[in-house]
Symmetry: D3
Subunit: 338 residues, 6 copies
């Protein structure tokens, strides 16, 4: 089977990592991580454009695209150490959400079945249903917990006559049994949606959602520590879903449904790092980057760094497990470089 | 049935014309023309954003929104003289093209069945299938001819696994029998799509497509005259479909698939005017305005003027038929104003 | 008297709340809050555009415009609980500041006289003179204190030969006796204006102005607590005036006189919440949103949320007073949702 | 009296020509032309920003700012040959149109009284009342005819409660007797404003207005020839008023009230050239450049070239009168360069 | 020698044509045309950004990147029929113009020596020195004539202390003897640069430069016919150099030194087509596309089409020579498609 | 020698301070600080545009350009108290980095030799080599220490075949002996460049580099205190080099190589203030402001404030030394204003 490549624009890979073909397992046998593009924005309820997310996230960067990115902070090279491969885009016609999600889910499952970590570049958040389901199809229902950074709960029921928009995937995942409600952590929620009915449903599922007021009062660090403490109880791994709108629109203007009052870029990067250092991440997506609303590519750059931060932390976690070491954020950059 | 209003943003009407409710025929009984919004861009193959077209086309303008626009040139007030009403948007989830087109088609048919001219504000060009089918459902198959301004033929077969994207509606209309291939006029085509196979199919349907080289060599005026000569032979009316990308990207940057080398805004307005003055227009759409790619709203403003130019010319045509007069473009603006 | 509606563009209301007509008291008899648009930027000394502020603040949002916004954090629906109405715009020709302010002042006084809270959407900050004077015309001179978030003191004397620009309203209010200098709190000042003479005048009035260095050193929380302690001594209520440029230009680029080094959006929202939870707010304006300098609408979105945060907190304060409850920011979002 | 300089931003002159001080006649005694900035946009009915027009028109250009611009086509150096001076800006507070226009009018009259050609850089078109009145104050009422390029007639009566907005200056000029209605030429009008009442008033004044349909049908060249034939009958000179929105928004997006279907930039430059070559221009303004709505400075660049084209043609006309020569547009650029 | 690929961003080829390596002649043995990227803007005197030109020109397009583009008008597939290959970028540090031009020249010469047509994607116009010299190094001094579309003559002597900026390559080429002054055709010049001295030098070289006034008066068609009549007398081939700023800024805003009053995009495409249909083009460059100043990619899209139009016309010319046919612009698009 | 003035655009000075001519020592004899523009971006490895930095940094501001800026916080007027002069731009052709740096270095040395503090407005960071070398040429090798705010270490060796790009100046300075590695403080580093080899070289030089993880963990305040403790041991003064990309792209989008996760604008201003209050700053540059990538001028505004904050703090330090006072950040703005 031939590699599909890119749905829109030239066929490129994430910062130049080698391509692979999901139809040819040998092409990614050596990889720990496989990147998949999901150029879909048919699920957006407001501003579209996220279909250009995969292209933008892959290609933004001022350093050469040669498949290596040594982290100053974590002292690993996420791309090289994990042998990352890029499978290109899944063909996803934005006018057919049902077929598109099914096709994406199948590809994610392939990656998971091969023992690799799928990293899906959205695309709007509707794809999370496919991303997590694809992992759960292999690991089993309820065996993966979710760490979900977002301004919105994404637990709506029916919008514009559909079950499958970008405001609803988290409900669908719980309803389908892919994820347990009580292993569903949400961080960064704020604003005026959803209303009490949906919040009641969420409470009924025993979800744990950190609204920005609580985070502001208690501190993000404490909230993460609390959340991580039980995140994986009874589960085999964690899926990390990052909606870029968890950040304040000042840091991430290029997104479909911006909600003022969010995290800074620095806070998100630190939180993603901790998630991947402290928890056994088995899959990830980064969604809702909408290049037509971006300026100077800063939102795409942030999403690119979210991916790199996660990969670096996964690599560091594996290295620490292997070497019995532990990352120290206070270690000066140039210490022990001899 | 309650008026749906706006799918995105506040519920406004085209330049302040009175609203109507398609479920309540009395609400538009006095109108000659009914405007319908089609906020859909799930059919776009490249840049989305046309879902915000209806909102932008309705609201752009520096004069007050009080439902009146007297044409300097044509000396009629299209909005007032025709009793234009705005039905709001059809709810169209971009992730479900099939359902969305069916719902739009039904609404257009209602307007046509009531003897009114539907004017549909897109949305991407996929909606043309619904727009023309809705008219043909009432007038009968093959009874409406098409005048189609566009950079692209939109006669593709299958794209991204779907039959219903914005590059295919014209093929679907002919295949379905809604429009006869030999009553299908296209003006402004250019560039590098479609390829020979599709062009052969088009030739086989006896379509008449004016590429920009022919228009440049012979002049737009002559081409229009030739095209109009037989446009309605055997038909009962004309549907006018204007893809804003028929204009050069310099005049219409805010669109999904811009193709350099097109008409000027002035040429398009003149051509639309002639179409509606000289032919019995029974329906119309204006599509592919993508506000996120627009600058200073100039593309939305052009689309707004395309609608006004058409409405003014329809009003003038009716007035001329009634009064036995004839519009003279050489008449000075202030002549006979006594 | 007929409702004037919108000065520019379509006649819309704030997120779809019902319209009212200030000439018809019955139309807002049930409301606790009335919104007024002040589309004026003739007072700006630098970048104009704030005339489009009311339109942008009203219409930005990705959720449907149906007049309801339940706050996740505060667990009230500011729009519904307070019965908010929108009176449309006051007609304000930017070329005539004196007449424009007089007309606005009269409308604000009407709202106050009816016992409602006026919420004025600017417009440039020159309108604050009218907004506060209108309230003071009813409550009496010196009976309303001011809480003023801004990068600038706005206490200039004469600029460009006028007394009435956007850099001078606070001086005019004190000179006119509408507000006592010692009940005038300013937060967020920074930069290089005004000079020592004006600062001396301010000190002479016993104003209390928190510059960003003090806020940075002591913390915003402590400054607010200190400021609120005596804010209403000898006064009957508080007018809250929010110049969006109190935020850093990274969070609020769309404004006329951006000054680097300001609050984050999160800090402003929290401070507005506290103001309206802890103090008896009797009027409010949000000013200096300049859409032509905005990007992706993020500044308008922030101003929209400032209004919602204020309305939610006012609603919550009333609820807490009624029910004897107290808002706890540490309460998890989904706690007690049963 | 001290030179005022710039109202906004640094004190610069048009492409580096020497500054002058209108209070010091010696400072511009050697000049044939004096440039005046009118940074005013309090008269705009829609998008403001024209206050930044003078700054943008003066400073845009990729060649050094040393006060020389030899015209390739006309073979003169308008700036040097005419000894152009720049008087800086008149202080014009946008919130006070009456005082601002009076102050500008006085300065224009000074220049005219000194026998120089005033070239006013707007600012919105409200300033035309001051510009032309200032010239007529010296030359006498009805002694100056107007050549007016614009999308709009600008002959409104009362807007937003004022007589002095940017849609009304031409009416005020005729009412005041400064200009005779039958020596008022308008070119480029189009669209849907004003309505029949105002058009009747215009006809009653015997104005001659060329709408774009007439220009399109007859050709701009023929219209200009016809218009120029009697333009100066009974008058002593011509005031040229160029509203940049006479061009299509594709060529001039950065303006307050863009109207699709206008002239190309090339057509405007040619028409301005002919006006200044063939008629005795005694004053000029270029208005409605709104930098916040511009892109890549193309509208400011066009306005800058309109000024240069006019100055070059005035210089060439004087040279031709002096030398008995005549400009030939067919002469190759490099012919006779020996 | 390894293929260098892309200097900036991912390694992509022009619309997906196969890559080649200039160090490996076999990799382009089958090609008639080889594309080279010149990501250099160290020569710009004003706005930089052209270093991103190659990337933008290669990747803009809404159709799939699979290396095929059948021309609707010319009925050939330039990319496929000519076997186009893309050699990637030459490494060109913008801070070292001398070394960068030398390196580019050597690569262009390789392509010419192999009997292929080099198509260089700039980059600023400084690269034309290298592009034409590289061809002349093989064909011999004075054996290649130049057809040069530009707003500027680019015949300056010393600017900013350097001989090698983007305003000087044409002088350097003539001085170096690479091109004869009397076989140097320039079309589209306008504005206020250069001054009389340089024009005299040009006249002394017997260059033929068509300024826009002459083109406007005589028509572009007639000018091209005249120019082409003797273009190749005594020469072996033509180098076509297209500075995108020959178009009006309305059609090509994304460029370094925009000059109002230029060609439309349609005119440029037609002129490029005629050049390549009627003359023996042996090399080509397209320069001065500056993406940071572009809007919605319309300038990059135009440059992409300039390349495609040229390649299509070269292919058609070869086909016509082979088949004894002749292209007829009046032939309807669908005629003879059976 | 004549003052060169501006390389690009009109000849303006920083916020209207008096101009001076570096060839005429008398013209800046009274100044403590001399500003120099370095309009160069030939050293950028990615996005250019920094050549417009000096123009943008000088001219951005909403207050009049009259050479005075009293600091609200520090209670001094940096511009007036220090007698700041602006020498205009050094002519720097971006295509010749070697000559450009040499010319800049000579001018900086002149200023230092005259006992003034040079403040260089970049330009890309390549200029730091010239800026610091120019100071060291006078103070002696190793006698000046560096405080360097940046996202990047800028210690690369060879890039794009050159030693002189914007990623390499810090290495060149140490190699040349101008600065001691162990007196080189870097703050704000982050991301994925450089790699281990270069970091090892840096460690070998005993540089002290604070990566954002360490800053986040320990707090910026503590890091600065630690860094400043030994910053000047064995040195005579400090050069402060501020790359605007040390800030998060949300606060500084207009830059060449944006790296997410940086300082806020507030943090940078506070850190610059402390540097200049606590250390003996003898020279400074602000670099990498790229206006074509900026939005609403917010990055230029930030850089302008960085300069003002530094000048104000230098003035305050001198005043405190003179008067035996000490700045208290907790002092309320209006305290002691009597």
């Amino acid at each position: 089977m031939a590699r599909y490549g890119a749905q829109l624009g030239p066929d490129i890979t994430f910062l130049g990592v080698p391509p692979c073909d999901l139809g040819d397992p040998a092409s990614y046998a050596d990889a720990d991580v496989v990147i998949i593009g999901a150029p879909f924005d048919g699920g957006t309820s407001y501003r579209p454009g996220a279909r250009f997310g995969p292209q933008a996230i892959r290609s933004t960067d001022y350093v050469g695209h040669y498949g290596s990115r040594p982290s100053l902070a974590l002292r690993v090279d996420g791309l090289k150490d994990l042998g990352v491969r890029d499978a290109g885009d899944v063909e996803m016609f934005s006018g057919d959400v049902v077929k598109s999600l099914a096709d994406l889910r199948a590809e994610v499952a392939k990656v998971t079945a091969a023992g690799k970590v799928p990293v899906v570049l959205g695309g709007d958040h509707a794809i999370a249903y496919a991303d997590v389901s694809g992992v759960a199809d292999v690991l089993g229902p309820g065996r993966v917990s979710l760490v979900h950074f977002d301004a919105h709960a994404d637990t709506g029921d029916v919008d514009f006559g559909s079950l499958w928009g970008h405001g609803q995937p988290m409900r669908r995942l719980i309803e389908a049994g892919a994820v347990r409600g009580d292993r569903f952590l949400q961080l960064g929620l704020r604003g005026y949606w959803p209303g009490p009915d949906i919040l009641r449903w969420m409470a009924g599922q025993r979800m744990r959602s950190y609204e920005m007021s609580e985070i502001g009062e208690r501190g993000l660090r404490e909230c993460l520590t609390e959340a991580f403490a039980t995140a994986t109880d009874g589960c085999d791994g964690v899926f990390l879903s990052v909606d870029i709108d968890v950040c304040d629109p000042g840091h991430a203007p290029g997104t479909g449904t911006p909600e003022p009052g969010g995290l800074t870029a620095r806070e998100l990067l630190d939180a993603v790092r901790r998630t991947c250092l402290e928890l056994p991440v088995v899959g990830m997506d980064v969604v809702e980057v909408s290049p037509p609303y971006d300026h100077a590519g800063i939102t795409a750059a942030l999403a690119n760094r979210v991916v790199l931060e996660a990969l670096s932390a996964i690599a560091r976690r594996r290295k620490d497990e292997r070497d019995g070491t532990r990352w120290d954020p206070r270690l000066p950059l140039l210490a022990d470089r001899g």
